[in-house]
């Protein structure tokens, strides 16, 4: 495509001399008034020959009159094109559309987040359960068993908890209380609404040593996923000994760690019938021993 170099000053002079407006000239040449303005201000003096011819026609002069002096027509491949290059237009287009792109991306992220939220809430709620059972207890003296169920935080979920007890274990009390049909043979069953961490505690006694395969087995399930219960982890057996159940290391002393474990791990045991005062007295004393005749713990001063 042939290009020519026009003299913008001459173009402006001729246009004004003939009383023509930029709009008129632009209409004849079929460009914008901005382009005419740029040509006149010599911003883009090299233009297409066909545009130069129309410009000359609009100004009612010969083409030579608006060309720069000593200007020959040059083929485009030898002449740098100084009209706004396509890349500049693209740059301007990009700068115009990037807020749109940003907005689209933001909307996309929001849609993805909302979709994820609904997908997650439609899925079964994950729970876990752990049994806290003392390692030893004295025959026919009450000991606590706590099952800690962890559900999703800030979501109330109905928990179905089942606990099968070994033979010779007798349940005395539970918290939460069991429904009338909640205990059948040696199975406890709770249906309880829970949020985050919930403790299910029962007080039991053991009259005879457990057989090796006779252990505590239980499961917990969220009501919306009751077909997929989780097994209750943690200790599943207890042995008979002459040690208090709170004396976890069996050294006939209840130390600071053991008293804190009683309070931290098993919740409010006093209301379930566990003699907390006795445990504190043992902790404050120098030790204890089991009196088999009186069937009581004697506190050593």
């Amino acid at each position: 495509m042939a290009m020519v170099k026009i003299d913008g000053t001459k173009v402006k002079f001729l246009r004004e001399q003939k009383g023509l407006t930029q709009l008129y000239v632009a209409t004849v040449v079929q460009v914008t008034t901005d382009t005419i303005s740029r040509w006149e201000n010599k911003r883009y003096p090299t233009i297409k020959k066909e545009n130069a011819l129309r410009l000359a026609e609009a100004l009612e002069v010969e083409l030579n009159e608006i060309l720069e002096e000593f200007q020959d027509e040059e083929p485009a491949q030898n002449q740098p094109v100084t009209e706004p290059p396509p890349s500049t237009d693209k740059t301007r287009s990009f700068s115009k559309i990037w807020p749109l792109l940003l907005l689209s991306a933001t909307i996309g992220v929001l849609i993805a987040a909302i979709t994820w939220f609904f997908i997650m809430h439609g899925q079964p709620l994950k729970i876990s359960a752990k049994r806290m059972l003392p390692e030893r207890c004295t025959a026919d003296t009450p000991f606590p068993v706590s099952i800690e169920v962890i559900g999703p935080p800030e979501a109330v979920v109905a928990i179905i908890l089942k606990e099968n007890l070994p033979e010779h274990v007798v349940v005395k009390n539970t918290d939460p209380p069991l429904a009338p049909s909640g205990q059948k043979n040696n199975t406890l069953k709770w249906l309880h609404k829970a949020e985050g961490r919930t403790l299910f505690t029962y007080i039991a006694t053991l009259s005879k040593p457990l057989n090796i395969n006779d252990v505590f087995i239980g499961s917990a399930a969220a009501s919306n996923d009751s077909e997929n219960p989780v097994t209750i982890e943690g200790n599943n057996t207890i042995e008979l000994s002459l040690h208090h159940w709170a004396d976890s290391d069996g050294d006939n002393v209840i130390n600071d760690k053991e008293i804190l474990t009683v309070y931290d791990q098993y919740g409010d045991l006093e209301k379930l019938g566990i003699d907390i005062d006795l445990i504190e007295e043992i902790w404050l004393g120098s030790g204890y021993r089991w009196d088999p005749e009186k069937k009581v713990y004697e506190i050593l001063p």
């Binding site: 740059t91 600071d256 008293i259 804190l260 931290d264 404050l284």
Partner: protein, 139 residues
């Protein structure tokens, strides 16, 4: 020009993101380094020892405070009431149950008053994983 502008914007964004991540890391480190419970002596005046327990959130459920004075020191009064006072061995124990976040002031009046200069103490509580935390009271 567009590339330059783009580079400049990218650099600014990168810088902002770096600053934000540094800020979040610093906050997380501060929070995670905060002990659930701490204790320090705030005054020893005459025969009275005053200390402050600061419980953070989440708080330990229960904690034990143990103070040691020279054996034979007489404990005239404690507030809150100590769970165990053994003047012979010089051990005074408190058991705080159902602890809430906040500040608790503990005072102890002893005789002779000079015993206040030799007092020291330990704070014990269970960690969520089951371990024990044992901290000396700061002065």
């Amino acid at each position: 020009m567009f590339v330059k502008r783009l580079r400049s914007s990218a650099l600014k964004t990168l810088l902002l993101l770096s600053l934000l991540s540094c800020f979040i890391t610093a906050i997380t480190a501060t929070i995670s380094s905060a002990e659930p419970a701490t204790g320090r002596y705030i005054s020893v005046s005459g025969d009275t020892i005053k200390l402050q327990l600061t419980i953070a959130s989440p708080a330990p459920q229960n904690l034990i405070l143990e103070q040691y004075v020279p054996p034979g020191t007489q404990i005239l009064s404690t507030s809150p009431k100590a769970r165990k006072i053994n003047s012979k061995s010089g051990v005074v124990k408190w058991l705080f149950k159902g602890v809430s976040p906040g500040v608790t002031i503990v005072t102890m009046q002893v005789s002779p008053a000079s015993a206040t200069q030799a007092v020291n103490g330990i704070l014990r509580y269970r960690l969520p994983g089951g371990g024990m935390s044992e901290q000396r009271l700061a002065r």
